[in-house]
Point group: C2
Chain length 106, copies 2
Amino acid sequence: MNKELNRDVFVAIADPTRRKLIRILADERELPLYKLTPHFQMGRTAVSKHLTILKEADLVQERKAGRETRYRMNAEPLKEVKDWLSYYENFWNNNAARLKKLLGEE
Amino acid sequence: MNKELNRDVFVAIADPTRRKLIRILADERELPLYKLTPHFQMGRTAVSKHLTILKEADLVQERKAGRETRYRMNAEPLKEVKDWLSYYENFWNNNAARLKKLLGEE
DNA sequence: TAAATAAGACACCATTTAGTGTCATTATTA
DNA sequence: TAATAATGACACTAAATGGTGTCTTATTTA
């Protein structure tokens, strides 16, 4: 039934809480929900929902360990963002408009 | 009164319509609303709202020319995304966890 | 000057988002 | 085994998002 909603990575990282989650998990390797929650001002349920969204974007993976579920980060989907960004890097390095003119486009 | 809402760049690029707008403006230099609209399936008002969001993130700038308003892209705010991403590039290049272990952290 | 065009400004609506609280389930541990 | 701890699963709510249509204003142009 494809429970994987395959959520947009761009949407997943648009929220500051989720970016903070990613950052914590990147540093801490693996953490259960009850250790993640106190980093935020919201309740456990809200943090859990953000984790679900990150899971749907495959930025976070989970592993059951006894009664707790441990979350860890997966950076791979961020490549999509990196690739998207790479198109615009010309705009910083050199003047893209001038470059295009030199190449005879337009 | 600070009409500049200074909207989050991450939120601005989370929407596919807005990413497409950015791309078009990156390629086309400068375009008025009525030339941008036919690229999409939505109406003029909706496209205009997306442009407003992009303006608030300073990803798009506008210039009045007669009765039309011409929009052009500004790539600068994307640097924030690039900088954010750079923290996670270790996770692709080398195994960051192993690196941290080597460095004696944790 | 009159008609047409471009866009701004609103009011409106459906859906999604981000949070809450509560109850049920499962695993630990005293 | 009984109490507790961690989480999942819901139901609910307020606010934001992403659209729509209509009306007005300003600028061309016939």
